[in-house]
Symmetry: C2
Subunit: 180 residues, 2 copies
């Protein structure tokens, strides 16, 4: 992204690189969300817990992805998601308020942020359509294409809870796949 020197400098003053440990939780549901994370190494996931205690993974984030509870951030409500580190990771840690103020300080960020949001919308539209029209096995294949190296970080039940099936069902899908 093309940014002025001044804008870059400002970015560095509000960004804080942080090492985070596997298993740690960066955002917890019910809390006020102050941070957005940019992943430079490792893997994180955002998930919600439903009324039966079942987890549902909304998003994985690997190198160069943003992750947070965007529902909370964009609505101002409390977090409904949890952000968990699936491996020791490095993230750049932005205060959401400061990240927002950037737009008034440096209008050149607007186009950058708009592009991010547009690509986010595209990926969400595609995810919804895939969920509706593909079988569980097809969704798993697509997942492996889209996240080719993610299995080093994730447990199968993380992936299952992203695909919308139980871990047992995913296990059976994997078995029939190796038999082919």
């Amino acid at each position: 992204m093309p940014l002025s020197e001044e804008a870059k400098k400002h970015l560095f003053t509000i960004a804080k690189e942080t090492k985070v440990l596997k298993g740690s939780t960066l955002i917890r549901e019910g809390q006020y969300v102050k941070k957005t994370f940019f992943v430079t190494d490792g893997c994180l996931r955002a998930y919600s817990v439903d009324k039966n205690g079942k987890e549902h993974t909304l998003q994985f984030a690997v190198k160069n992805w943003w992750i947070s509870d965007f529902i909370a951030i964009y609505t101002g409500e409390l977090a409904t998601l949890n952000i968990e580190c699936l491996s020791d990771s490095t993230v750049i840690d932005f205060n959401t308020q400061e990240l927002n103020d950037i737009h008034t300080l440096f209008p050149e960020f607007e186009a950058f942020q708009r592009n991010n949001l547009e690509r986010h919308v595209v990926s969400l539209h595609k995810r919804i359509l895939n969920q509706m029209q593909l079988t569980a096995e097809e969704r798993y294949d697509l997942f492996l294409e889209q996240y080719p190296d993610i299995e080093q970080y994730t447990r199968n039940y993380h992936i299952a809870s992203y695909l919308g099936v139980t871990q047992q069902s995913l296990s059976r899908i994997r078995v029939t796949k190796t038999k082919k």
Copy 2:
């Protein structure tokens, strides 16, 4: 939204109010997408057709909603969605290119557009989570809450294809509901 007079004037020069008839298709898959629509009256839907010929409704748009094939617009690819009028409607018709140029001509639009995109992302995140954690009946209840007056425009199979169930299943859900 607070906009300067100049900006408002410009908006009117690129917007074109159009009456569209029930059953007409404003965007067809495979076509190049040149338009984004703002609905001022009536109801439209965006749907895709899968490899078995089954329709999946990605979005309904009623008064004051935007609708288009945002996948196509934001990626520059050809349309994969169809936009269909479910009733005689009135839309304001924007050329996508001109709508984009607004941001360079009138930077004050950026914040407005950013807010639109953020709310769009929120609704998509919520939709994905609801699809994963709610039963078909719960999703139908929520749908009726979110679109209280839409049933005057839609066929049941439109709603079924939005909820991710067959029209027969939705019919059975409706029957058990009236018995309660």
